[in-house]
Symmetry: C2
Subunit: 426 residues, 2 copies
């Protein structure tokens, strides 16, 4: 079969707006992963996909081939319904941290195999590594054991999952072919399906602090991913959520863990609590459970699961979180209401303070980040601290301040912050 | 300057429909030619150009950078006005063979630096190499000497001309990015401008036997190339010509040389004579001469220049042309008029008989090809020879016959063949 498939024909077919056959798609993914197709041919195809898109069936086959390029975790021995969540990333988006133990406390198993942060949005693993001793690298049987005993695991996705995606992503990264909805959707879904979850809730964000700037693209991405999930027998729901204002009160690593603990103890910022519960309800429903996440949050069982999960992965849940040696305070220049706090500006500032990385080899600081004492719609008083820029390297402060320049506004009249969850797609 | 240019930005700019700056274009062509840009990045850019095109100024800079990647011939010592012709290729298109000596006989110097055939259209050099002893590889000073003494040279374009084009063309060939008007136009024009001609006539063909199937694309290509010529101070005119019916009565190598001799002796098929004279008149006018090509054809001076050119390049103008060992005759199944003779079918048949090559390393047969005894609009009698398939390898005949299946038709009523020259663009 594969002898009759020619890469130039494959590229030309997609270039001219055609649909690749299942055999062509499988041949390409296999041949590219094994080195049988040259990078320059693969990148030409990816650019043609950028312009022409993919038909739903074509994309399902493409994703299936990416999954088939590696192993698929077997979670059948976990003994609980499995459900995971994926966020397309946002500023201050620590939701996975309280969410995973919360849903586990409701009776599900949450196999959260995660990645690192890149650019102005943070990474879940980076945040957790601010906890002394916490291990993100787990063997597959450790993952299964921990899911069986605790229901909660947050660890690095192993190299065995969807190796085709790793190779394609590296190529997309240097050929300006990252920003393609079918390529983004298949990249995310291939890894999530390979991790073996039975159901999946997607948090697809749009706005200045998100990967997708506009609602139309975010909706298209959400629908595309839900379609791929359905084609693979994974029950999938997506929430479209706003990411113009950063989530919570903190953007960084250790400071977001501290905020997570506030939430798990029954407090924390209302937007973080609201989104955590909204996602938890979807996950619990998809898992076929009838527990109420609000109860599991209030009765301390989510916190207990968090502590057990941190402990199981070598971390000390009682260890103090790292504190930055330098804190630069920005005070409110006038009394009034916060009318704007731009997620992107805050995210870039946190990144520049050391919380994020520009290249995937870069280290991140566990203590750096931005804290805001009030968010959009809330009152501030002249001269009171409004923003804190935290870092161990004061030379980073000017660039961070520059990112915040024009990113916030205080006005005389209160404004209402828009809704967090815009739509639900299933 | 170049340190601030990033290949990912270059690709993204073009991908998103922007215009590359002159600095970006020059940086890319230089860096790619010297190995400083990876093939996978270059091919992604070429695919983006396929979809987005190039602005006129951007394309002029792109072409200039390709020319600057190599040497440019200095024809200032030739002592005659220089003018060349380029055809985008067609079936039976031997026009360069009579045209170059004809225009030289009118007083111009014609530096016809040419390429090999690929696919179903023939190559001028392949045709000439069917003449015993003819050398297509000339040093630059041989080219200049021959242009000064005879005004006529047809030889291979040396490796020193536009090396960026050679590298880019090889990449386009394997990444399905050949069929892009700005990329085709810059490839042709970079080589023609680098060969040092002061003026240029383009024969842009469209139809089943041409590279461009439709008139709209051909017109766009012609306008694009005329624009590039103007931007580089090369007086450029294009004729749009029809290529649905093969030119003349022969498609092959040696048999097209024989037809050329018929034309130079004052005979030959009327379409070949018509197109040769139309192109010659444009060339003579661009060269600022007032000779009449019809006179130079009739008085034998074009033939004398042909004989001198063949002799100067080591060929024997009196040597017999190679004859195929096998001739398969297709007879007219009924009396009537040829109502269709499809250029592509004839071209593919000649190719399959051995006249053309599939890969540039392949050899070609000097004797193989197709002869048709009548063309569209002409009368045939039942049982008389209509087509001759010539080859030294009879096993090639069935595939050639298959290419001709449905490619011709004989009907009871005469049809008028459409005009050969459709338009003139300057």
């Amino acid at each position: 079969m594969s002898t009759s498939i020619n890469m130039i024909d494959v590229i030309r077919t997609k270039r001219d707006g055609g649909t690749l056959s299942d055999a062509q798609v499988r041949w390409f993914i296999d041949a590219y992963t094994s080195g049988g197709v040259a990078d320059e041919q693969a990148s030409a195809l990816l650019m043609a996909v950028f312009f022409r898109g993919m038909a739903p069936g074509e994309l399902a086959t493409w994703t299936a081939a990416m999954i088939a390029s590696g192993e698929r975790l077997d979670l059948s021995k976990v003994g609980r319904p499995t459900v995971d969540k994926h966020s397309t990333g946002g500023v201050g988006d620590k939701i996975s941290l309280p969410l995973v133990p919360l849903v586990a406390a409701c009776g599900a198993a949450v196999p959260q195999l995660s990645g690192r942060g890149l650019g102005h949005t943070g990474g879940t693993l980076d945040k957790l590594e601010s906890i002394a001793g916490f291990r993100v690298a787990l063997a597959n049987d450790e993952v299964v054991d921990q899911l069986r005993t605790l229901g909660a695991v947050i660890c690095a996705a192993g190299d065995g999952l969807a190796p085709a995606d790793r190779k394609l992503y590296a190529l997309r990264d240097v050929t300006a072919t990252v920003e393609s909805i079918p390529l983004i959707a298949s990249s995310i879904m291939s890894k999530k399906i390979a991790e073996g979850t039975e159901s999946l809730v997607l948090d697809v964000k749009f706005g200045t602090g998100a990967f997708m700037a506009d609602e139309v693209s975010a909706r298209q991405l959400a629908e595309t991913m839900v379609g791929i999930g359905a084609a693979h027998g994974v029950r999938t729901v997506a929430l479209l959520t706003a990411m113009d204002v950063p989530l919570g009160r903190t953007a960084g690593n250790g400071i977001e863990v501290a905020e997570t603990l506030d939430v798990l103890r029954g407090g924390g910022p209302s937007d973080v609590v609201e989104l955590t519960l909204a996602l938890a309800r979807e996950m619990v429903a998809l898992a076929g459970l009838d527990a109420d996440p609000a109860v599991a949050l209030a009765d301390g069982s989510a916190l207990a699961t968090w502590r057990a999960m941190i402990g199981a992965q070598g971390g000390d849940p009682d260890a103090p979180l790292p504190e930055a040696s330098h804190v630069q305070v920005v005070r409110a220049p006038s009394s009034g209401y916060v009318t704007q706090l731009d997620a992107r500006g805050v995210g870039v500032a946190a990144w520049r303070l050391g919380a994020g990385r520009a290249r995937k080899e870069d280290p991140v600081s566990p203590s750096a980040g931005v804290v805001w004492h009030a968010t959009v719609g809330e009152r501030v008083e002249e001269g009171q601290p409004f923003l804190e820029l935290r870092t161990d390297d004061p030379s980073r402060v000017p660039a961070a301040l520059e990112a915040l320049d024009g990113a916030w506004r205080i006005g005389p009249e209160p404004v209402e912050r828009g809704p967090l969850v815009i739509d639900r797609i299933s």
